[in-house]
Symmetry: C2
Subunit: 339 residues, 2 copies
């Protein structure tokens, strides 16, 4: 576990400054206190006060998503949640969850038994057993990218899918692309449904064609691309919007394997702006989600639900990050000359 | 201005307890401190600390809406905003605004000149001059019931229109009503557009007819009802959903003036659950918005924008409040016998 000295060294401030930040003393600025607290969480420090308040507990449940390594989407979402929770003296457990575990443990019962006041769920699909429980759950619960109708104990936090996909379509349209494909995330997900609707309505708003061949569902992994990329290329698509950066990675690699150049022949746009997006060849143009802030908003929503403020949705603005995987449309797609 | 003693008397606690609540002492409970702070704001108390911090200022701009009297929708929204802002040592000015004022004063310039760090706008329509300015504004701004696309400095706070209208339609459907009318709020408003779409999709989800005669736009006043009620009745409508409780008041009175009984002949549902809704004859069945909490959420969003967390939307759950203005459908509408 990190010590006060570790935090002081990392920030280049004195031990007494760190101590003031951790204990809420009023003679340091709000900004510095925030930095001290955020760094303490990131380094795994826990105050005596938070160790004492063991019955103030929140849980983050994660499925289908990695969050251990700093370059993963989930890492910063979890970190943002923990940083905000720490400031208000909550202990946070992060538990990876399987479908089998959900079948064995009723959602509300598990939370009550373990003494959690509320939970934040990441990476679940609408088909998960716990998603059914959430329709009638009495436990304050925040979902990343999923929505439960009519239950005032459950809130949806995410990035505005409509604006995000519209930004991607508009960007490609401005580069002269007309035949645009969309490789969406998985079925049975609120966010996939929203993005699908957004893609179709955005394409229509630019008078661009939407056919059955324009889009497909896949899953959040580079391996998802192989089959679909061939279909897109066979249909003359010159640009592909992807449901995540990982999908985009697979799309770029599959295009290149088939001797199409990115971006000269095919433009590719991701979604997330995960840290890995800059490491692709070429670096990925993508729709940024504010990961750390998503986690912070999840905490704010959960805290509101616990205080009986029935927040239903909290959405954040996406942002187009232009890198090198998109370029002006060449007209007809042609394979690069194989030398 | 209220004194500490006034607050102590109102709450039935000692002066030292109030003092501890106001000064953040740690030996009273979080809950009691919150009650002390909320009551202080409601009674118009300001601490020395907030008087000193004169350069931490937020503004609430109000148009087309009353907020002075405790029985008005706007009153509790403004109060909730001020209560949350007070806790974080912000001074809040509440300014009623006219279209002429907006023409004379550029939005960003006015805020900068007056030293406001951000603003909360209530009651504006999409046709207001400042709404155009907000498309490119750099000032953190939260809108009640209106949405500006693509500007990460502006956030929309409101109640989930889709769920609210769907609750009203489902309630009337469960009472046997099939021919349902919707007297919406004004044109050029995000929330009116959303509710219109919600009404049409909800009616279709119950296989109920939607025609041109099923709905109309009006304005948030009892006077809006007269003309439209006659049209609805002429089209055999047996239940009317209204865009606000004030509209519903006019609808009930106009039905009664034309010798239709509410709810025996015509069921009426309001929207808001303003304090007056209980005083109607009969008391109004309505879709509740959490007024105070809307104001609190507006503060949370504004504070997030000021801290560069680009929240786009924050929506709250509505709630069906069943009173006496709705009843089982009689079949064909018939006027009551005039005695």
């Amino acid at each position: 576990m990190a010590t006060i000295k570790d935090i002081a060294n990392r920030l280049g401030v004195s031990i007494s400054t760190v101590s003031k930040g951790l204990n809420g003393a009023s003679d340091i600025s709000d900004e510095l206190r925030q930095t001290v607290l955020d760094t303490a969480v990131e380094m795994g420090y826990s105050t005596k006060r938070s160790r004492k308040e063991e019955n103030r507990k929140l849980c983050v449940f994660v499925e289908n998503m990695n969050y251990d390594a700093t370059d993963e989407f989930g890492y910063n979402v979890v970190l943002g949640f923990r940083q905000n929770a720490f400031r208000y003296h909550w202990n946070v457990d992060v538990l990876p969850i399987t479908p089998a575990f959900q079948e064995e443990n009723k959602y509300d019962t598990f939370l009550l038994k373990e003494g959690y006041s509320g939970a934040f769920l990441m990476g679940f699909t609408l088909r998960d057993a716990w998603m059914t429980s959430l329709q009638t759950s009495i436990m304050p619960t925040v979902l990343l990218d999923n929505f439960i109708a009519n239950n005032p104990n459950v809130c949806y936090v995410g990035t505005d899918s409509f604006e995000g996909i519209h930004m991607a379509v508009r960007h490609l349209f401005s580069l002269g692309h007309k035949n645009i494909g969309f490789l969406n995330g998985p079925l049975y997900s609120k966010v996939s449904d929203d993005r699908q609707n957004a893609f179709e309505s955005s394409m229509r708003s630019f008078n661009l064609p939407v056919t059955e061949a324009s889009s497909a569902h896949s899953y959040y992994s580079p391996e998802a691309a192989k089959h679909h990329v061939s279909n897109f290329l066979a249909n003359g698509i010159t640009a592909i919007i992807c449901g995540s950066d990982l999908i985009a990675k697979g799309v770029i690699e599959e295009c290149q394997r088939q001797n199409y150049r990115v971006p000269e022949d095919i433009s590719v746009v991701g979604f997330d702006d995960a840290p890995i997006a800059t490491t692709f060849t070429p670096p990925l143009t993508t729709i940024r989600q504010e990961h750390n802030e998503l986690g912070r908003c999840a905490y704010v929503s959960l805290s509101s639900l616990i205080n009986h403020i029935p927040i239903s949705k909290m959405l954040m603005r996406p942002k187009l990050i232009e890198r090198s995987s998109t370029a002006f449309c060449n007209g007809t797609v042609k394979k690069k000359d194989v030398t």
